[in-house]
Symmetry: C2
Subunit: 542 residues, 2 copies
């Protein structure tokens, strides 16, 4: 079982150090500390274990170190920044694992950009040596890139020429969409195994500058000081992200607010999120005091962890039935607090994190059905779980009231990758409905929810059990691949952004290539890399 | 060899009839007239041969029948509109063919929308029977959809539940992006093999209306009359699209203005477009008189044909070296005429067609290098060939002048699928350069072209031959799959549109699925469809 929880004291591959408003995130991969057998992480190459630490570091920077204004991403290895994803690891991994590995690393790089964009922290890639493949892709997720000019170090994307696969961690998209490198130059660069060095790399827009070895550290420091600026450092004090308590059982996972029950035989899971069990504070200072025990942070950290667990450790689970429990009024009161104090750094970080977790759900290759029953609590931020689901079933009960509730957090505070709120995405055909629904006072009982278009199906007591059972059986009988492609298409109506391009166009092409004999067959380039044997291609263009 | 040229007299599967401003395009597929062995085109299912006729009909409508305001797309078979792409054809086709088949059918449906959007012709799908899979996808490419209410006929996308593949001809994208069907309903609909009928289909936005069998024809006629409007029909008279003269040789194809030389051993082709050989008329009436012999129409029809030929009949050709020859001044003069009269229906249609052909090039899974030499004619509309190329090489000659020239047609008259001009796409990083370059008087000789960022490389006489030779050798040695994915990513920087979503996200996922054992393996759903054997899935979610 792959565990996504870690902390700086446990890091094997990164060092995270602080100097007032400047953090330094240094890569120093231990080649023998790998997640699986059969490869060594030479030259700061990485596997999922290395990236789990990176994701953790970026997350902690935001919550534990709000005083940090600039993050320097660099390496402790001489002459090499990072050689990218380990090729032997890729070559020996299953298709499913490769795809999930790339998705996670993409999310980590998008999290860097989310921090830069929304929280204003600047990320500076200080390339003290060659950055190739995923190494350069990590660099272009940063705001600025500086490369040492030692006559040898280069930036490169050698995947196409050396491995017959794509630089699939956002590289091709960011090259032309973020750094806006001219497409013909991007073409040349992406087919040039050795990459480009200082002057030309700068001229082509691949880096922001290069400095001679003797001046490298000094020049980086000076640029960092410029980015820090002269203003006084904020006196904010972070909160600690403690390990999540979780009980792992054969049949699922039990967190404080999140419960997962695996129905392995039927290939579906019941995932329940419980609302707050006490009244929550309304002042930022009290929230700060609660720290990671504050419901929105703890519950969404648990949800994040369980989604990653489902993706990587439970590939045969094809459907997740999302359920909620608790007191809706408490959720709405909490959302009111979050909305009122969204300019407070901690509340802002919590909201941005909740949005990232929900996007992780949008991007999870499992079907999601929201199941709404009398004890459900699909209210406010938890209502986003219903909106993120592929379908929803809400009991139309004669006996008890079943209700869903929206609030201001459904109005855009938790955007999808396409930049829209889930409510906007739902009502593309009738955008006026979004405001109507948001203006609605009180909850929606089943019939009014159906009428408002907020749910998919509303079976009555008599049909309920059968209908849910049949829906689950039907869904889990379908081709898992067709469902993945279908959901990836239907979930993202409306505008596209750099993020959706990375998860849509780029990722889908990479997944395609990750199955092609020219890459992964016995004569494929990925299979034969580093071996005495040579790749042989079927040259038919598809 | 698959031939993309046809004409209404030769149609086997469609009937195209006219009644003043109304055209009727009726599907009546001959089940035994197939492009390959091993399947029968039952129930108005189609193969590439059927779609070649459809594409031809839509093209002819625009040029030969400008008087047509409304096109009714219907079927001559009782109780069935169209059952979509033939499943046995798909099951027995190579991966490469499947992908090219889907691309062409997508382009045909986009051409319908292009006609509707830019030329105002309304397309009305009169579904006199069930429209399933590609049949419904054809319907949603139309502006309006009406379904007969006979208690039986339905619209459906049964690909996911029955075949384990996607409705990949734009269906999933148009469902949520064009018809803006709510995503949860789209999910239900796309997993429901039997589809939906009249009332519910209308309520969910899948169709625009349904009429009882007895009133169907009358109701369609009445809606058609509304669309035609009461205004007098335009007195415009179309031009005839004659068969393209082409000499097919073992080593290539020779058209009047387009020449293709296949270097099969080295897996690349030289594709030369020759500019006009005489001075061209400047008045629309004279252009009309010239008809399909007018250079822009003839040359681009030839280019269109040769691109389709390369895609489908020459899969092993991985690289196309684009060359031009001729008198640049003539091209510029012609472009001036086209720009001056772009409101004239024929000129408008010609420009829209040129744009479609160039988009076909953008979407062709081959590498393109533009090669600029002293006798080249990369000017105006022909300069788009250079901009559409992945790279360009321009000789920096001591002896003769080598020049490229831009004009107003490079300013947006020939947009890419992403809605930008190729010049805008090229200069995303420095948008101010677009206007500077367009304002530049006269041509750009090699050095100034390089400085302006218009070309990739400018080798001198000494290096030229070696550099081109090595560039070709290097390109054709790379994995064709990695190149396809890389080019599809780099060619479309900037915004995304419904078209780019169809060719990017949707198509890439479909291509992925078209390789998955769950679809095409011995136990896959596509393989086993209609056989006594059953599909068995590997249920791992990827």
């Amino acid at each position: 079982m792959i565990n996504f929880q870690t902390s700086p004291e446990q890091y094997k591959h990164w060092r995270l150090t602080f100097d007032g408003p400047v953090a330094k995130l240094s890569m120093d991969v231990q080649e023998d500390v790998t997640l699986a057998e059969g490869y060594k992480l030479k030259l700061n190459s990485y596997d999922l274990g290395v990236d789990i630490e990176l994701a953790d570091a970026i997350q902690r920077l935001r919550f534990e170190h709000p005083e940090v204004k600039v993050v320097v991403v660099t390496s402790l290895k001489p002459r090499i920044f990072c050689a990218g994803a380990n090729i032997y690891m890729l070559g020996s991994s299953s298709h499913t694992f490769k795809v999930n590995f790339c998705k996670f690393t993409n999310e980590t790089r998008c999290a860097i950009e989310d921090d830069s964009h929304h929280s204003g922290r600047r990320y500076l890639a200080a390339l003290n040596g060659t950055a190739s493949g995923g190494g350069y892709e990590l660099a272009i997720a940063c705001d600025e890139i500086y490369l040492v000019d030692d006559g040898n170090s280069a930036v490169s994307l050698p995947e196409v020429p050396l491995l017959g696969v794509l630089p699939g961690t956002g590289g091709l998209t960011r090259l032309v969409d973020k750094r806006k490198v001219r497409r013909d130059r991007a073409d040349v660069f992406s087919t040039l195994a050795e990459g480009l060095k200082g002057k030309r790399a700068k001229e082509w827009g691949l880096i922001d500058g290069s400095f001679a070895t003797s001046k490298f550290q000094e020049s980086i420091d000076s640029r960092v000081q410029e980015l820090v600026g002269s203003g006084a450092s904020d006196p904010q004090v972070g909160i600690k992200l403690n390990p999540l308590p979780v009980e792992v059982k054969p049949s699922g996972m039990e967190y404080k607010y999140v419960n997962l029950i695996l129905n392995r035989e039927q290939r579906y899971a019941d995932l329940t999120v419980r609302g707050p069990d006490t009244n929550l504070p309304t002042a930022p200072e009290e929230i700060h005091k609660l720290g990671d025990a504050y419901w929105p942070l703890q519950a969404f950290r648990e949800l994040d962890d369980v989604l990653l667990h489902l993706r990587v450790n439970e590939p045969e689970i094809g459907l997740v039935c999302l359920r909620t429990e608790g007191d809706a009024e408490r959720v709405l009161a909490m959302d009111e607090t979050l909305a009122a104090h969204r300019d407070h750094w901690l509340v802002r970080e919590i909201l941005l994190y909740m949005a990232r977790v929900l996007r992780r759900l949008d991007l999870t290759a499992k079907s999601f059905f929201a199941i709404v029953t009398p004890n459900s609590c699909f209210a406010g931020n938890l209502f986003e779980l219903l909106l993120a689901s592929d379908r929803s079933y809400m009991l139309n009960s004669e006996d008890g009231k079943v209700e869903i509730m929206l609030d201001q957090l459904n109005a855009g505070a938790l955007p999808m990758s396409n930049g829209l709120s889930r409510l906007q995405s739902r009502f593309l055909a009738t955008p006026e409905k979004v405001d109507e629904i948001l203006a609605h006072q009180g909850g929606f009982v089943t019939e009014s929810a159906e009428e408002a278009g907020l749910i998919t199906f509303a079976p009555d007591d008599l049909d309920w059990e059968d209908e849910i059972r049949v829906a689950i059986e039907e869904r889990t009988s379908l081709s898992p691949d067709a469902l993945t492609g279908m959901e990836a298409s239907l979930r993202f109506a409306g505008p596209e952004t750099m993020d959706t391009k990375i998860y849509g166009r780029l990722t889908a092409w990479q997944n395609w290539i990750f199955q092609r004999p020219n890459a992964v067959g016995p004569e494929g380039a990925l299979t034969n890399y580093g071996k005495p044997t040579q790749a042989h291609f079927d040259f038919k263009r598809t």
